[in-house]
Every structure is written in structure tokens, then in C-alpha cells.
């Protein structure tokens, strides 16, 4: 393994106040270190936000209609999700969680394929290699280790792939979070850990996950830089994540970015968030909404007009309509799939079990009264 220099401690500590480049009113903020992305990049991000918000709304509606079993909404976190996709190059990989459907879609996976898992047709509905997106992980923090191993393999072969691994604040309490940080730092691999701190792990608040000054402060304990960013400011997330990705690609090793954001809706549609938080608290975050903030900024810059806005809304509507149509269509499900993918070679036992099920299916579809 390559030896690497130890960092001075001061270089590893995050800022006391999260990096911000556009404030909640839409006004630009000057930063001594981070440069605001240009208007083209921000317009591209804005389109992602509009589409992401529409997809979240559509998915929630599809749960109510019984077309999705469940949907973990990222309403309010779209800036994190869109930026996570936008900072990656074609050869880079994204390791998302169940709440990161908008990031997966922003990476090019079709919304319908992204929802396969939630619809119940199969577990992961897209080709990971085609889009360089790992299957969405449900167990917390386990995918962070996969991201590290993936990056280790890339480094082993001399490829300049960067891996961006997503998790939430709850996941930082898991042992695998610690092991992933530690392995990544010890082996100095090109991974960026991106924590979307949305304040709640289902019902449990951040104060019950950690007593640290911030989640980004944990990085110094592993010997990697940590940074805090306003997770509802897509310009800041793009800048901070972009720098972390660039550093990883240049051989600078892993880093940890904590985005301060908020889960505006319940954990999933099965959750009742009125039992653990006050309505006023949620309302207060509306003023920090990532969409309105960027819209105000781009409009003031003259980069966004009503015509463009309408076109973006129409595009998002098309995506939502396609998702709706795809999920309203009856799925063609093949019961043999149960046995087909357990391992590369089907065991004699599974062959017997498939024959048993096929017999049951054949009997069940015989016309009644036929014998």
C-alpha cells in the first residue's frame, strides 16, 4: 500500500459555520476559499432540483395510489442529491441509500427503473455498471464499506475513478461508518463520504446520534479532512463536494462532507412525524428551501426567466408522467426469477423447488370444472 503524508490537524477540521455561497434569501455570499459555480452549472443544477421535487411529489402520490409500497422522500434535500450526481465524472461511481432516488435519477437511471425496488418488482431495477450507480442500500452504512473496497480496486488498477458514498446522520452511529472511514484513510483511497444530516433518523434526533461538535468533526479522528456545508445551498454543495472529488482524484485521499439539511416530510409514508417534532420546526425550514433560493438567485442574475422556468416545469411534468405511466402499467413478473439469480449455477435443490412451484402455478391456471 502507498504511504502517504499525515495531515496537520488544522487542515482536517471543518469550519464552525457551514460553507454557504447563496443565502436563504437568494443573495450571493462571498467565500474566501470556495468559488460559486458559474450560472450554466447552477442552471443545470436548478433543472435537477425542479425535476427532483416533481419526482418526489409524484412518488408520494403513487404510494397513496398503491403503486409504490413505500417512498422515502428527499423533499428538501434535493440540493444534496443533485449536487452528488453533478460533481461526478462519467467513470466515477455513486453509492446511494434508499433515500437517494433523486441522486440516482440525476445520474441517468430512469425514474421507473429507480422505483423497481419500491414498486416491489425486484430489488435493484437498474444496471449498476451502465450508470455507475451501486444498488440503493437499505441497511445503514454497509454500503460505505463497499464504496471503499470499490475505490481500493480502482486504485489497485491505477484508474482515476472517484467513489462518492452517501449516508444520513443516523448511519454515522453504525460501526460500518467507523470502519469505512478508517479503512479509507488507512489505505488512502479516492472516496468522498457525503453525510446528508437531515436531523432525524426516523424519529430520533441528531442529539441522540452524536455528542460531537458536528458530524464533519469526526473526520479528524480518522486522519481525513472534514467540511460542513449548507445542504440547502446547491452552489455550496457543488463547490465543497467538487473540491473533495478533485482532491480524491488527484491522489489526496478520502474526505468527509456533512451537509446540513432537513427532512421536510416523514421518514416514509408509514411514519407519523407529528409524534416527534413540532410543525413550527418544519415550517421554519421552508424559508431555507433549496429551490426557491436558487430560483431567486438565478432570476436576479438574469439567468432564469419565466420562459425557461416554464420549460423546466414542463420537462419535469413529462418525467412525472412517464413515471406514472410506467408504474400504472402491469408488470410482467416471472416466478422463475426467484430461483434464477440465487447463484450462477442453479443447485439441484433449487431446480426441484422451481419444478414444485411451476407445478403449483400450472394447476392454479387450469380452467375450473375441466376435470
Amino acid at each position: 500500500m502507498t504511504q502517504h503524508a499525515l495531515h496537520p490537524a488544522d487542515d482536517l477540521l471543518p469550519r464552525d459555520i457551514p460553507v454557504q455561497l447563496i443565502d436563504p434569501t437568494g443573495a450571493p455570499v462571498t467565500d474566501e476559499h470556495f468559488t460559486r459555480p458559474d450560472n450554466d452549472a447552477l442552471l443545470r443544477a436548478y433543472r435537477g432540483l425542479v425535476e427532483g421535487r416533481r419526482i418526489n411529489d409524484q412518488a408520494n402520490a403513487l404510494v397513496r395510489q398503491g403503486r409504490l409500497a413505500v417512498y422515502p422522500s428527499s423533499h428538501g434535500q434535493e440540493a444534496c442529491q443533485v449536487a452528488a450526481s453533478q460533481v461526478l465524472g462519467d467513470r466515477d461511481w455513486l453509492f446511494p441509500t434508499y433515500r437517494d432516488s433523486v441522486a440516482v435519477i440525476a445520474r441517468g437511471v430512469s425514474p421507473a427503473d429507480t422505483m423497481t425496488l419500491l414498486k416491489g418488482d425486484w430489488h435493484s431495477g437498474y444496471d449498476s455498471h451502465e450508470h455507475r450507480v451501486a444498488p440503493q442500500a437499505t441497511p445503514l452504512a454497509t454500503q460505505l464499506l463497499h464504496a471503499v473496497g470499490f475505490a481500493q480496486a480502482a486504485k489497485h488498477r491505477g484508474e482515476d475513478t472517484v467513489v462518492l458514498a452517501l449516508c444520513g446522520d443516523g448511519a454515522t452511529s453504525e460501526g460500518d461508518f467507523h470502519e469505512a472511514m478508517n479503512f479509507a484513510a488507512v489505505f488512502h483511497v479516492p472516496v468522498v463520504f457525503f453525510v446528508q444530516n437531515n436531523e432525524f433518523a426516523i424519529s430520533v434526533p441528531l442529539s441522540r446520534q452524536t455528542a460531537a461538535p458536528s458530524l464533519a468533526h469526526k473526520a479528524i479522528g480518522y486522519g481525513m479532512p472534514g467540511q460542513r456545508v449548507d445542504g440547502n445551498d446547491v452552489a455550496a454543495v457543488l463547490a465543497v463536494l467538487g473540491e473533495a472529488v478533485d482532491r480524491a482524484r488527484a491522489g489526496g485521499g478520502p474526505s468527509l462532507v456533512e451537509a446540513h439539511t432537513y427532512r421536510m416530510q416523514a421518514h416514509t409514508n408509514a411514519d407519523d412525524d407529528t409524534r416527534y417534532r413540532e410543525r413550527e420546526e418544519v415550517q421554519a425550514w421552508i424559508a431555507r428551501d433549496p429551490l426557491t433560493r436558487l430560483r431567486t438567485y438565478l432570476t436576479a442574475e438574469g439567468a432564469l426567466d419565466e420562459e425557461t422556468e416554464a420549460a423546466l416545469a414542463a420537462g419535469a411534468e413529462e418525467i412525472a408522467a412517464a413515471l406514472r405511466d410506467a408504474l400504472n402499467a402491469d408488470s410482467e413478473l416471472d416466478p422463475e426469477d426467484l430461483f434464477r439469480y440465487v447463484s450462477t449455477t442453479r443447485s439441484p435443490q433449487l431446480t426441484e423447488q422451481w419444478e414444485q412451484l411451476r407445478g403449483e402455478i400450472d394447476r392454479s391456471i387450469q380452467p375450473t370444472g375441466g376435470h
Binding site: 425486484w122 430489488h123 464499506l145 463497499h146 473496497g149 481500493q152 460500518d176
Partner: protein, 346 residues
């Protein structure tokens, strides 16, 4: 050293036929696999300079470099989880879990990801990795060093679970495990690491197949791992008493070789299952049930199990009472509803 996916494969060390310990056979299998396939990497705790606490990886770092065999931080879930990511990215990791009970922190990664990723992605992401676990007792180890955890793995769909009982199988099965596109839990009987036997490195073994360890006509003993030796010892004694005992080393706990086992038990009409693990809800229970389902009309007596007791693994000074020995196997054989004529005739 940079190694590409498409780097041409090179010849392994020239095949040999020689007597060696199981530990040496495993070491040779790892060395040959590393030589043959540039995507094979070996890692775990103490596998580098030390060569593993049982010396199975002895000399590999020295010979092949840290890129191919390296020590990790002390964290089993980390070892397993990073192996998953490497396998996703085209490598063939072989990880060592040091002792069976130490593998438990990695259990979530094994069950939720190693075993399932191929299934979750309809085969798009393969998991060609091997989890080497020194398993079982009989070495006087203190607590957490002698467990038999095979039932946990064999119960998990998607995992191939094998255990060798001879140096030849140790070599051939480990080569097969590393070459497999699917994840393999490779259980190494600690007690047998220093047992010797002839190894022909040109021989292959097929995962999923049982091996007839001894021919016999009166009763079939179905077993695996270190218990194979105990069963063979019992068979020797039984032979002196006029009973012909067949011993099947089932070798592959999942998938299970029903064909070989069924044919064997139908031939003798009597069977016992021997294993070190507690018998309750065990691999031994599963084998017993399968034999009952497939051989009932051929059986002259109930299929019995001889297993460890349903207690946590014994302290070193009590383990000789815990472990199934030849006497316990012989007692079980004696209980199988023999009639004198049949015993005399055999």
C-alpha cells in the same frame, strides 16, 4: 504494480505430487491462485508479515507484494465490506476471518450483501469472493476460538459453504472456491491444519459434491470437517467388530450433494450424521431430515445424529467430553436396530 482486468493469465507453479500438511496445501492453493489470476487479492488480520495466526498465508506478501496480500485494520466487517466493493469492481478477494467466532461482526455484510448482491441485481453484480474461516475445535483453544458456525452460513441462500478434511481437498476445493463466480464460505478445520496427506496440485474438486471417504456396506456415516477423521477411526474399530462402515465426507454443506448421499444410504439402509456443532437446528439436523425424506423406505433404523451438545463450546479441559469421539459414534452405530444375522453376515 498496476494490474489490469485483461492482463493475460500466467502459468501457475508447476504441478506437484507430494505429501504436505493441510496448512501447506492451503498456502500452495493461495499462491497458485494469485499467480494465475491478477485479480486475486488476499487480506485480513495478520495475514501479511506474520503469515496468519495459523501461517496459512506464510510468505505470500514476501513473494507477491503488499498489493496482493496485505494486513487490514482490525475490523471484520470492514474486511468483509471492502471485499464486497472490490468484488463489485472486478477483483477476486480472499479474506481470512482468523477464528470462527471473530467472523461474527462481519455477519451482516455476509448475509445482507455477499450472499444477496447477485440476486438483488439479477446477476449484474457478481460476488466472486472467498471467506476463509478456521473452524471447529479440538485444539484446546479458549472461548470464542473453537465454534462451529456452519449452520449460520449454510442457512443463508446465495452462499456456497464447503469444508475440506484432507490436504488434497484443501488444495482442490480452495482453488475451486477462488475460481467460483459465486461467494464461498471456506471452513478450515483447525484441528486438521497439521495433518498430512498426499496432494496432487493437478487434481480438481467440484464444489457441491460429496466424497466417499471409506467404502462400507452396513451403515453410512455422513460427516464433514474434523469429524471425518473421528468417523474413520470409528469405522476401523467397527471393522474389527465385524461391521462394515461407509464414511461419506459431505464436504459441501451448501449446496448439498443429495445424489451421492441418497445412493449411499439406500445401499446400506442405516445412517448416522456426525458433526461437532450443537445438534439443535444444525447442518446435522438438515442432513438427517434430507436422508429421512429420500431414503425412508430403504431404512432399517432411524437416522441418528452424533453432535456436540446444545451448550456453548466447551472450555479446553472439558472439550474431550463435548466433542463427538469414536466411542460415541460406535454407540450410535450399535443402536441402529441390528439383528444378529445381519451383523454376522457382514
Amino acid at each position: 504494480m498496476t494490474l489490469m482486468h485483461d492482463e493475460p493469465r500466467v502459468e501457475v507453479d508447476a504441478p506437484v505430487v507430494q505429501t504436505m500438511t493441510m496448512a501447506a496445501a492451503l498456502n500452495r492453493a493461495l499462491a497458485d491462485a494469485i499467480t494465475e489470476d491478477p485479480n486475486v487479492v488476499i487480506f485480513g488480520e495478520d495475514v501479511g508479515a506474520l503469515g496468519g495466526v495459523f501461517r496459512i498465508t506464510d510468505g505470500l506478501t514476501e513473494r507477491f507484494g503488499e498489493e496482493r496480500c496485505f494486513d487490514t485494520p482490525l475490523a471484520e466487517s470492514g474486511i468483509m465490506g471492502t471485499a464486497v466493493g472490490m468484488a463489485m469492481n472486478g477483483m477476486r478477494p480472499v479474506v481470512e476471518m482468523q477464528f470462527d467466532a471473530f467472523a461474527l461482526p462481519a455477519f451482516e455484510q455476509v448475509v445482507s450483501h455477499v450472499a444477496k448482491l447477485g440476486n438483488r441485481t439479477k446477476g449484474a453484480l457478481r460476488m466472486p469472493l472467498v471467506i476463509r474461516i478456521p473452524f471447529g475445535g479440538g485444539i484446546g483453544g479458549v472461548e470464542h476460538h473453537c465454534d462451529s458456525s456452519e449452520a449460520y452460513y449454510a442457512h443463508t441462500p446465495g452462499l456456497t459453504v464447503v469444508s475440506p478434511s484432507t490436504p488434497q481437498d484443501a488444495y482442490s476445493l480452495l482453488r475451486a472456491a477462488i475460481a467460483s463466480p459465486d461467494p464461498v464460505v471456506f471452513l478450515e478445520p483447525k484441528k486438521l491444519y497439521w495433518s498430512k496427506g498426499e496432494v496432487d496440485t493437478s487434481l480438481t474438486a467440484e464444489l457441491g459434491t460429496a466424497r466417499i471417504a471409506r467404502e462400507g456396506t452396513d451403515v453410512t456415516v455422513l460427516t464433514y470437517g474434523a469429524s471425518v477423521g473421528t468417523a474413520l477411526e470409528a469405522a476401523e474399530i467397527a471393522a474389527e467388530e465385524g461391521r462394515s462402515v461407509q464414511v461419506i465426507d459431505v464436504r459441501s454443506l451448501s449446496p448439498f450433494d443429495d445424489a451421492t448421499v441418497t445412493e449411499a444410504v439406500r445401499g446400506t439402509g442405516r445412517a448416522i450424521v456426525v458433526a461437532e456443532a450443537p445438534g439443535y437446528v444444525s447442518v446435522a439436523s438438515e442432513i438427517q431430515a434430507r436422508v429421512f425424506e429420500r431414503c425412508f423406505e430403504f431404512l432399517e433404523a432411524p437416522v441418528r445424529r452424533v453432535t456436540g451438545f446444545d451448550t456453548p463450546y466447551a472450555p479446553p479441559k472439558l472439550e474431550h467430553w463435548y466433542l463427538p469421539d469414536a466411542d460415541r459414534i460406535l454407540d450410535a452405530i450399535d443402536s441402529l436396530h441390528w439383528d444378529d444375522e445381519e451383523a454376522d453376515a457382514s
